[in-house]
Symmetry: C2
Subunit: 583 residues, 2 copies
């Protein structure tokens, strides 16, 4: 080893020891007679000291070093005069007697500090410098810690990690696949897995009983801030279980992570049905760190002459605490906001619950004080609160109110990153109707089982069929989702038919899994956690990118290596493909 | 849970307990008054018993069940009369009072037994049935165990697992890439990583100090029995180390695995230079479970009138123990064999060391008894041994003799799968010359550092430059390989130039890593283990396929799901590519 110790481990007990440290020059201070150099590695920072009086040559050498030089310093540990008790090495310094520059460094394009002066683009291009910063480093250390904790926890429960293939068959059902041309099978392509769903089910058919895998998945979708073309799942499946068993097993796992990483204990996670989540939070991933529930007030407001409410399927309200002082301008801003996508609402009605017990509303001419008071009662609004109301088609209004609820919570600082509020959302609908393609899609995926008591409705009233499907939500973020699976050939055929596939298509695309169900498929179910999101929640960040060593930008590019790239003609020929040039 | 216990855990202590078991019907025996049904899951097999006298209806129901039915059995644990002490559950049986068929099964296309009647192709098509067999199951359990052991061992040493991207930039240097067309970046492609080499080096530049990852890698090469298009590596890298540190760290890891999995202890692994490995074993991955070293006897046999030897660069011999009785026919077979690829030798000379101290050789007319005796002495051949000799160009003859050595060891049963002989091969040449493309290639990869003392020869005598590169070999299989890396821009430029790249090509292809070296790259080195091969060595098998849940065949196809497949026209259009139809 080129070093005897790391830059994070020396302390007062090492005094007078001869040591060799390696690391990066974090900063240096030249105080005339003395020069101080902080040397940094993954483990910490140690101060090195050079004395112009006792060793002028070495001190002059030290003064020439600049930021991010890679150094090897030999010297003796000494107790410091000015101690820094904030860091573990802060009581000592190294009296250096030899400097070796292992590698010089150009001046980095931004500072290697938590509050760096580098913008997002610059830091992505020099990601190998960006990840030197403590903030990113701690995120990646947390990610490693979580993965080790998950693996050992699952292993202790008898789950085994089994690697499933990355070069698989493309499945038209679901999101868009990334594909890989096969050179050995001309004109044919592999797909990269969107999840190991079918393989993990085949492992259950194979009798593996309890499977997990922390595994990369791929989805060729247009990207948003919290989406990456490649992402990591904690993928899990169990045999001979019912929904309750899956929930209990993985609730315990998540509690274990909170205990180990945050030293937090939780009671049983609350459970809410999809229907109630939409009703009370306007979202299937409610943030329950704060209350501010939605209340439907349709019955209270219709038939009073206000045509917007009268013609609406639903009128829904929230009460925003201590916000009755909102100005005209602020209210106009809110109204403008809800008219825009993604809210896409027609407008916003407000009722201010004034401190003098009066009300001031944008619909004063339709409702008297008593009526306003009744509305206030029904949404549990007190003096000083602001009631916000939207109306329209029910589901759409729920969604819009859900977003408004989050917006108001953000404005009131109710979304505390140090607070964690997990819950299960259960009883999802099996199918959802798509207006554009005019067909049903599987809400979770086509292998999810309908609730036995709803199965008979599959073709009669498909929208009413609920699934044994569940999501784990923390702080308004969907962290995991799963379901009890179909394991019966006929039920699986019915499901595909309900999705509008004909028999030929079903057999062509899913024949192998249908056949597998005929050779002793056990009842089974599972769950998959978004590992990037889990890390970001534990790390108190909104962006999953901060928890990925080498993420891609919103165009799916890695700006550091400049990928993707054009291929050579030879590569294309070997693969039997041609690129269609864009004009 | 649909069960109270697994099929592997009930024993004499559970007698008279009410239990519920779930599993697959392994076999049933109908003995007139009694019917026995063995029920199997991942954990074991439990016998269930049905009595025609006490419950004829249930017994008749049991008789209708056939192999691989998925059952739920409720009953009471009873002590068996005929105990089977070979299995943990062999002292008890379940007196069943309720059968539930969770899923029936068609008769499987082959038996779910260690010695199955199913051929390779059939078992691959029904891989979900094949993996039910104990043999495959135990392999996958071993694989899981090794991965958990590796991860915890590395974690304990302060290595952190960091996930690197799968959608990366294509690198022309090296093997052929699998590529992925980018929809968002038309006409451009990602590549799938052949290894995370450049990313792990950038993690070292990023200060991560100790990195590992168990990670899938991809190589689009023509396949052999022990190659798969996707394979798994234990990928490792360390900063501020020299070769000795890497060897010691990972030797200790491999010892830990042997101790935990096999309860085997090892002394220090032997080390041999590449030159000596070729000289004594005719291979850079010598199987040292047995001796039978190569001996060069050129000086002993030339100038005696045998033109084949006289004109040869090298004449090399091995002594095969107790094989002097080889018949003419057997020797002819050997001769035919070495003439074929991959030996590609011109012929084979033998000397039998007869038990009466005489010699019988195929070159009797050129060498007298004394000369033959001298040869025998030099190769340490005793009475009863058979000396085999090949001649020709040195490296080619070494390789051919190396293969012959393995062949003879196989014939003599010297390659014992329960014996483990690890060793390090070190001091590999940095470059190797390719006759076909008439240029040098990196023996390991282009980021491997030349030995400092050989660096000055890089352009003068490139073949003589040795690298700080090393392989871990176990039983003649290369399990891992690594090197100390270049971390200096100029040296890296020199290396690319030595590989025949011009400056423009270098900057275009590797500019980002060269630039990274200018911002404080630390000295670093690492190693990567072939995890599939490591598993197969520990499992005592030659084939890595047996240790992969869903492997591909030699055409890169998954015959179970029938991948790869043609894409729809819509998919191709979205990706801006066109398939060139083969005629």
């Amino acid at each position: 080893m080129l070093r005897s110790h790391t830059c994070g481990e020396l302390n007062i007990n090492n005094c007078n020891q001869e040591v060799v440290l390696c690391g990066w020059l974090q900063r240096s201070r030249d105080l005339g007679g003395m020069t101080f150099v902080d040397i940094r590695d993954r483990y910490g920072i140690t101060q090195a000291v050079f004395n112009m009086e006792t060793n002028s040559q070495l001190c002059l050498q030290a003064r020439k070093l600049s930021r991010e030089y890679v150094l090897q310093l030999k010297g003796v540990v000494r107790e410091r005069e000015n101690k820094n008790l904030k860091i573990p090495t802060g009581e000592i310094e190294i009296e250096v007697n030899e400097i070796k520059v292992l590698n010089p460094s150009k001046i980095p394009p931004f500072t290697i500090e938590d509050n760096t002066d580098g913008g997002d683009e610059l830091r992505m291009k020099y990601r190998y410098l960006d990840i030197r910063r403590d903030r990113v480093k701690n995120n990646l250390l947390l990610r490693h810690k979580l993965s080790i904790l998950v693996r050992n926890y699952m292993n202790d429960l008898g789950f085994i990690e089994i690697e499933t293939p990355f070069l698989i068959r493309s499945t038209p059902e679901g999101a868009r696949d990334f594909v890989v041309p096969s050179r050995m099978n001309p004109e044919q392509f592999y797909a990269l897995p969107q999840s190991p769903q079918q393989f993990k089910q085949l492992l259950m058919v194979g009798g593996y009983d309890k499977y997990f895998q922390i595994v990369r998945c791929f989805r060729d979708e247009d990207l948003r801030a919290d989406r990456q073309p490649e992402f990591t799942q904690i993928d899990c499946e169990m045999s001979f279980v019912e929904q309750e068993d899956v929930l209990n097993t993985f609730e315990a796992m998540v509690k274990h992570l909170f205990k180990e990483v945050k030293n937090l204990n939780f009671d049983s996670f609350p459970r809410i049905s999809y229907e109630d989540a939409m009703k009370y939070y306007g979202s299937d991933k409610p943030d329950i760190r704060f209350d501010m529930k939605l209340t439907e007030i349709t019955h209270l407001v219709q038939n009073c002459g206000f045509s917007v409410f009268d013609s609406a399927e639903a009128v829904i309200a929230i009460s925003v605490k201590n916000s009755s002082e909102y100005t005209r301008k602020q209210l106009d801003e809110l109204t403008e906001m809800v008219k825009k996508s993604p809210f896409n609402a027609k407008g916003l009605v407000y009722i201010k619950c004034n401190n003098d017990d009066s009300f001031k509303s944008s619909v004063d001419k339709f409702y008297n004080e008593e009526q306003l008071s009744n509305i206030a009662k029904s949404v549990n609004a007190k003096k000083g609160d602001l009631i916000l109301i939207m109306a329209g088609e029910k589901e759409r209004t729920q969604n819009a109110m859900g977003l408004l609820r989050l917006e108001m919570a953000t404005r009131l600082n109710l979304r505390d990153n140090d607070k964690f509020s997990p819950l299960w959302v259960v009883d999802f609908p099996l199918l959802e109707w798509d207006e554009e393609t005019f067909r049903f899609y599987a809400k979770h995926h086509p292998f999810t089982a309908p609730k036995p008591e709803d199965y008979h409705l599959l073709f009669k009233e498909p929208k009413k069929v609920r699934a044994n499907a569940y999501d784990l939500v923390i702080n308004g973020v969907e962290i995991g989702g799963g379901s009890i699976r179909i394991f019966d050939r006929k039920m699986q055929m019915d499901m595909f038919e309900a999705l509008g596939l004909n028999e030929e298509e079903i057999i062509q695309q899913f024949g192998f899994i249908l056949e597998a169900f005929e050779y002793g498929a056990p009842p089974h179910g599972g769950i998959a956690f978004g590992f990037d999101r889990l890390c970001s929640i534990f790390g108190g960040s909104e962006s999953i990118r901060d928890f990925i060593a080498f993420p891609k930008n919103n165009n799916g590019r890695d700006t550091m290596t400049d990928a993707p790239q054009r291929l050579s003609q030879k590569q294309l020929e070997e693969l039997n493909i041609r690129v269609i040039e864009k004009n």
